[in-house]
Subunit: 563 residues, 2 copies
């Protein structure tokens, strides 16, 4: 699979074993990652609070062109003011510098670009403890989630993108001596070169809830295929991306490449630059994750660019029957509660047949299921330290008001209650609210909710539940359908629904809390995320098209002497 | 590379050797095709006029659903009325039937779909002589071009698409037993299946000048990845697609598959159905080749579909210097005259420096070059039989009026003159018109012309010519830049231009007429066509994204017992 032209770049030599293994993993889909979990003791900063404390009130240093001032006004969902001032740069200056940088970057050998990407991933991993702290205090994720999803899984997904990029770029020989007989006149010979031609400058608009996880595949897919990337973070979650940009720029610079290949663009939230920037003629790629409204605007208006979008989703769970009622409840509440339902794949709607469900504990009525779910959720959240670890903090203050209004609903199954964080008393910690609903409430439960809102929807039959779930997921967008059934025809029906709606199907998941955590996180190299068949995503992480749309093969051919 | 699950479909077994070789060719880019050139004696119909005569005035039979009448009003550019009546079907009936057919087709093993595609390609090749006749008398191509481009190259490009589809579908294991340690609680095991999930129903809108060549890659890419295809031909060029659909439906039926997977939609030219059809919610893929205006409309309005477009192009030639002046002239006039410049990659604009060009015959002034080009074109066309073979016929009657108006230009270098076809006196045969232009005429020479119109543009310097050519190609769209230079810095500059403008660069092509014919036809498995970096095409024939955007990997996962 590896092509060699003389001596490859030392960074490629250094990391090519990792690339080999990553390539194998993209095919085998088995559990693999070169990035060890981040633990407290593995960096100079010891992973403690020092990392975030060092940044509070600081001037973040980035030697970018076109600095016009400083801005940034993040505050931690755990209650700390961060007040970090980032250099604010003129978008035109960043685009111009990125264009220059991509010009020479795009001409490097594929090996060189890939080697540099792998080096940068390794360095990001070395700074993982600090990055996890930054993620925690911007997204509100618990530290454990920030470490696993935001650091190690994000890095592994970035590596996955590099491996797929390598695969797609290597699908074609770098050159060929093409020869075709032309009868009595001898053969026609043409020397052809096939060169990866990148699109140009990419704009990466990152989200607030899973910024590195969503950004790294796009970032590294674009870089590996020769493009420059300007990262514009969500104004409330800048630090993790600023750290990322700093590591990338440093890695580029130390290896003699133009650091302006990757830059950070921050703006004032009252003067957002996104739309103007997105239609700039030099922006050839846009990767966006966030609410659907802006995504549709981008697809409508940024016609000069290839637009990859990832939006809020209405994920569903359909309960039909189970051999492991307790295990199912454990898995369900873990999925609903984890990071307060603010994960991209968090389920929002739980469908249950009106006649109840067959379980290993006998038939459980719909009403009983609702009570059991509420009880299990209560148990999970009753010990504050554990609750804090599971729930994380609520990303947006607006969600608190939303939860309060849900608490006032007549359909309340379990109210959202405040939890005191063992350490930061003003942290925004709330348990999820659980509401009862009927199919006639579709207008209510169909749109993606702010986190921590769960509907238990009683439907006449499981088949009916699948019909509604399919419609909601197809129209509103979704990533995942959870299914509990012991009934093979229902399993088949759900598989058809999942295929048509373009969602991942997870059947009969159960286990302990720790196991649920593992199962809930889509795994790099193994799980696909967003197939493009519903509005939740056309950013298909990580398949061939996610990468191959970022470049084309340019062909340069010249006539050879006739034989 | 091949995956085996028990016994594959017999058609896969039959053709897998071809698939193996095709896969190797997509990578090596060497000259290869399993499809022998079509010659006069190789079919039951002996390749004579019987084929087209048998269809004239006939009722074309296709057992499609929803027949509401008959229509079709083709006439040959060689002057024969064809008057073939095709079944006209209600679009909704075809879409509904295609949807049903794609449902079961999409669930077949990749091997089965690929096997059927390879069988259909072989059968189309068996009927190649008839197909070439049909192409000749609808597109106006000479029989030799219809045979090479419209049959053997079109089939090879179809096979190339099947091979790339196989490669992309095989990039991921069909299943995996994913296992991750979870500390004291043992490992978490998940069984995952990865299934090719097709987009659904594709609409294939074919063009008038190269209908099979443009259509077969899209048709077979869609079919191999599990989609249904409705082919809607250009109203003046129906027969080649009707024959194609007939062969595909027959192949499907004989092998026990739903023939409605592929259907033909014809409409009255005064009541065109394209726009209404294109925005139908069940149309998930659109492949279109033709004028840019409709392509932009499709991209703007058919938002429910993935749209692949291929438009008219303004291909350019830049002359700087040459070691083989005569060979260059031969190649240039062959390229300009072949099929009267109606090929997608025909050059339209020839740029020459005002100071003339250095050649093996001394410096040739710009004026002398123009005279020599006109003379060489005259020589090529002076013998009617040979002229007919090179020029083919003019596709659209409107082009004749355009050529007449060009003939009246004050900038005329060589007028377009009628040629009498040795056999069909009312054939639309005209030599290309050659006009002189200056950079200030850019508004005139930038837009793609109807065929047979050539501009010789005198520019101060070669560097200036490259600047104008890059702008024109980037703004108007182009597939190819021809370059003649003996000067390495000019070669480098042109390579940069080609990379930025997203066109194929062909440097210093020369040779006899027969060799020029071979070099002019982009070769399947070797040449790329349309990289997506300029408006001429986002249908990148045939790279990974051209195929992988037609499906996604659906993931179905279920929990295994904890070890």
């Amino acid at each position: 699979m590896m092509r060699r032209f003389g001596v490859a770049h030392p960074l490629f030599e250094k990391h090519q074993n990792t690339l080999h293994k990553a390539l194998a993993a993209t095919r085998s889909r088995l559990c693999w990652s070169p990035y060890a979990e981040v633990s407290a003791g593995d960096t100079a900063l010891n992973g403690g609070d020092e990392a975030i404390e060092a940044y509070r009130g600081a001037q973040f240093y980035l030697d970018q062109p076109g600095v016009i001032g400083r801005c940034g006004n993040e505050s931690s969902p755990y209650g700390l003011a961060l007040s970090i001032a980032y250099p604010q740069c003129a978008p035109d200056a960043l685009i111009a510098a990125a264009k220059v940088a991509s010009g020479s970057w795009g001409k490097l050998a594929n090996e060189t670009r890939v080697g540099l990407c792998l080096e940068a991933l390794e360095r990001l991993h070395q700074g993982g403890s600090e990055l996890a702290q930054a993620l925690m205090h911007t997204t509100g994720q618990a530290l454990s989630l920030a470490r696993s999803q935001g650091v190690t899984q994000a890095l592994a997904r970035g590596l996955e993108a590099v491996a797929v990029a390598w695969r797609e770029m290597s699908a074609v020989s770098p050159d060929a001596l093409w020869e075709r007989p032309a009868g009595a006149q001898g053969a026609v010979q043409v020397h052809k070169r096939y060169v990866v031609a990148p699109r140009g400058v990419g704009l990466l608009l990152t989200c607030a809830n899973a910024p590195t996880w969503m950004a790294y595949p796009a970032l590294f897919a674009s870089l590996a295929t020769g493009n420059a990337v300007i990262i514009k973070p969500h104004p409330t979650v800048i630090l993790p991306l600023a750290l990322t940009v700093a590591v990338l720029r440093q890695t580029l610079k130390e290896n003699g490449f133009d650091a302006n290949l990757v830059s950070l663009l921050v703006d004032e939230s009252d003067a957002p630059a996104t739309r103007e920037l997105a239609v700039h003629p030099d922006i050839a790629l846009i990767d966006y994750s966030g609410p659907r409204e802006l995504g549709e605007w981008l697809r409508e208006h940024a016609r000069q660019a290839r637009v990859f979008c990832f939006h809020d989703a209405t994920n569903c769970a359909v309960i039909d029957s189970t051999h492991d009622y307790k295990g199912m409840l454990r898995y369900l509440v873990a999925s609903l509660a984890w990071y307060s339902g603010q994960m991209p794949s968090s389920p929002q709607n739980v469908f249950i047949p009106a006649g109840g469900i067959a379980t290993d504990e006998g038939v459980v009525s719909a009403a009983q299921f609702s009570r059991d779910l509420a009880y299990a959720l209560g148990k999970l959240c009753e010990e504050p330290a554990r609750a804090a670890e599971v729930l994380g903090a609520i990303l947006s203050p607006a969600t608190l008001a939303h939860l309060d209004s849900c608490n006032a609903s007549e359909s309340l199954i379990r109210a959202s209650t405040p939890i005191e964080h063992p350490r930061w008393p003003s942290a925004r910690l709330r348990t999820p609210v659980v509401l009862a609903a009927l199919p006639s409430d579709e207008a209510l439960f169909a749109p993606p909710q702010r986190g921590a809102t769960v509907f238990v929807i009683t439907v006449a039959t499981t088949a009916g539940a699948l019909v509604i779930a399919e419609r909601v997921m197809s129209e509103q967008g979704a990533l995942e359908l959870l299914l509990y059934t012991t009934n093979p025809p229902v399993q088949s029906m759900a598989e058809e629904v999942a295929m048509r709606a373009g969602v991942r199907l997870s059947s009969n998941f159960s286990g302990t809390m720790a196991q649920a955590m593992i199962l809930n996180l889509p795994a790099a190299f193994s799980d696909f995320q967003g197939g493009g068949a519903n509005p939740a995503s056309n950013a298909t992480l990580v398949d061939g098209q996610f990468v191959s749309r970022r470049f084309s093969f340019a062909e340069l051919r010249s006539r050879q002497v006739v034989i």
